[in-house]
Symmetry: C2
Subunit: 468 residues, 2 copies
Amino acid sequence: MLFKQVYDHIMTRIERGDWNVHDKLPSIRLLALELGINRLTVFKAYQLLKQNGKAYVKEKSGYYVSPENSLPNLYERDVNESIESSAVHLNSKLSDIHRVTAAYQFSQALIDPNLLPNLFLSEYVKKVFDIYPKLMGTYSTPQGDEELRDVLCQYIIRHYRVHLNTSEELITTGAQQAIDLLSRIFIRPMDAILVERPTYSAAIDVFRGQGARLIPVDFSPEGYDLDMVELLMKQHRPRFFYMNPTFHNPTGYTLPITQRKQLVELAERYRCLLIEDDAFHDMYFDERPPQPLFTYDTEGWVVYLRSFSKYVAPGLRICAVFGRKSVIEPLITAKSLADNGTPLVTQKIFVHYFQSERMQQHLEKLRIALQIRRDIMEEELALAPIDWKWITPKGGLNIWLQLPDTVPARTLLNESFRQSISFVPGQICDPLDEMQSWIRLSYSFVNEEQIRAGVQQLAEIAQRIKER
Amino acid sequence: MLFKQVYDHIMTRIERGDWNVHDKLPSIRLLALELGINRLTVFKAYQLLKQNGKAYVKEKSGYYVSPENSLPNLYERDVNESIESSAVHLNSKLSDIHRVTAAYQFSQALIDPNLLPNLFLSEYVKKVFDIYPKLMGTYSTPQGDEELRDVLCQYIIRHYRVHLNTSEELITTGAQQAIDLLSRIFIRPMDAILVERPTYSAAIDVFRGQGARLIPVDFSPEGYDLDMVELLMKQHRPRFFYMNPTFHNPTGYTLPITQRKQLVELAERYRCLLIEDDAFHDMYFDERPPQPLFTYDTEGWVVYLRSFSKYVAPGLRICAVFGRKSVIEPLITAKSLADNGTPLVTQKIFVHYFQSERMQQHLEKLRIALQIRRDIMEEELALAPIDWKWITPKGGLNIWLQLPDTVPARTLLNESFRQSISFVPGQICDPLDEMQSWIRLSYSFVNEEQIRAGVQQLAEIAQRIKER
């Protein structure tokens, strides 16, 4: 028990109104008893409170809450506000944006449901329930359905010729949950972690929620500056490097094969886990991307998140995490505490569909459809009289667009929301909270007519802002 | 930034091997720079390291790692072990027990899949996919499907005549996730919370994982000692009281109606949230249980967890959390960071089935089947020549059995595992880690023959232990 924690504890209780201004704080003896700690520790905490002007002393009486300490409207707040104020503050900036309804949803990096083989899928589900009549009555294990793990494990082995078995795999409800569980077992407050700059906004929110210090690694079309990565690993001893090296979200960049091998070596040398989020691997347009970093790893320093359901059946939310047992075992425990296991129904539906021939045909068609949408978006962007810049993505779901200085992203977003257009401002993808002249436009969720009309409107809005 | 946190941070890095024995620690200037904090703070942390014998000083050189500090086999550990050792340690004692395969599963408080209307359910699923052909292609919002929230909200309003709307509701993947998310937004390290003694083992693990101090409230067949509860609320100012007042797990006890009203008043007075976990409400045998505490709450101090899928379709894992917006709003954010929303597929299947007439008929039958299983278990327990004691549960899935002193639960569990019988030892349900003469036997997962044979075998094992 440590006096600084006791100090924080008392401050929290003052803030939530357990003790008001000029209230007497519990005696040192009593608080020591209550917290089950040494009196000296409490004494030190009270001294610090005094020193910081949070409490004052009345001779022979005790410690009292100082007036400057409390918020002016503490008394006025009603009960519900005070419940809220006592909750730990978490942010989810991306989901705040997604809550805005928009006719032109360029903010959603999801596949348009019209591009999915819905009817076939429904037929498939019916078959699955014929095969497993008791499916609805059965729980999954926290680690995930054995059959599903086996099929996905074999898939990875077949494609990449790695050694792997089903005990080195965990099924999660989407990649988001995998990121969250990994944070919970690896991040302690103040721990350094490396993240790409820019990166997936919701991952930033998760890592911050766990109290991590985020160290940015710039991601350019050529990859990372590996000397810089080494320096950062040496200097900060990060717990892990969270990366999305293939058709990266939001930029669309792909890390070159040479850097992949070198990074795995750096990870080993500096004992820094690489968390490789590979959600867009199969969404390539011209050629297949390089092999995952995971496949170069022999020492167990890469954890591989492969979200399979995004482009197959997003409603199912199936992600597989592959890693050494030393990583997977604590993850299973975290998963069992978090939700006791992903629903078996969705796992069984997925595993049967995933193995069907139809699924491969669907993927082929989907890639073409997405490529067409990307082309249309690029065409409209190029036609617009705005000097915005981007690099053609060779896969994935997004275009990362640099706005001219005359068009601030924040202004553009506000005006766009009003005209029912949504996109993701670059700032929320930046661990440094800058990148105010970048935006992410997803071409995957809206159809071809909507892309044309939406980008044209966006250009008009940008033009108006420029001319102000 | 606080020097005690810096101290912990350095200790963690020493433990994980960033610096070995007699290695020089970074200079104060450098570490202050790295962590972005004041040099004085680092200086204080180094002083404490010295004071605690974790570091020593070389004149005009700096701080070095002391030898007594490192584990003797730190060098010998292989890479994977060191990854594991760097993970935050979480426990999930209940899921450890469930991993043991057993012919007589008295440890699983789940409904036997044979008691569920599986065929009907499967037919139902097919209909749902006809209604929503694009179901597989669609994400849910983090808060949960609007239609499902509306149906469950109306159900609560109809049954209990409370004011409620769908914005005061969140859908989670089972009650386990609701407990976990609530812990994450309300518990900071060292915060006191009240829990029943005994209580749900996995809840203890979640709360401990968040760093809570667990204050036990004894639960007897007459309820709680409310004077004691008031004293504990006054003294410890707990963040919340996690309770399972209806057919309580593991005891089967139900909190009397008079105590329910008084508790809600206490909650208001001491600003202590009540988290009412009501997973077994519909599993009554003779008469309906009293109304949930939630229905007596007008000020927003009760959060109500109603797990609906347990006895309907456990494979779906659907729980609803009801509470004021001030609680639900931060919960939605936590949910969106945790997994971006429960799969839509399971929500849609559930909502349609839940509204069917068939569902009510099923519930009626299920209650009778469970009552018969309880009766059989009691009959066999009574026939055994062991002086064990229990109170007949009037609902729920478990019997809470007190063993004679001559039969320690730990010994009984070990011997039982060997004979393919599993149950939950009382100790893991006790926040004080005692209750070594109690065990929880679930009668819901095993069929009638298995109950007879299993309890008979259990009695024989107990008899042998007694005679030793």
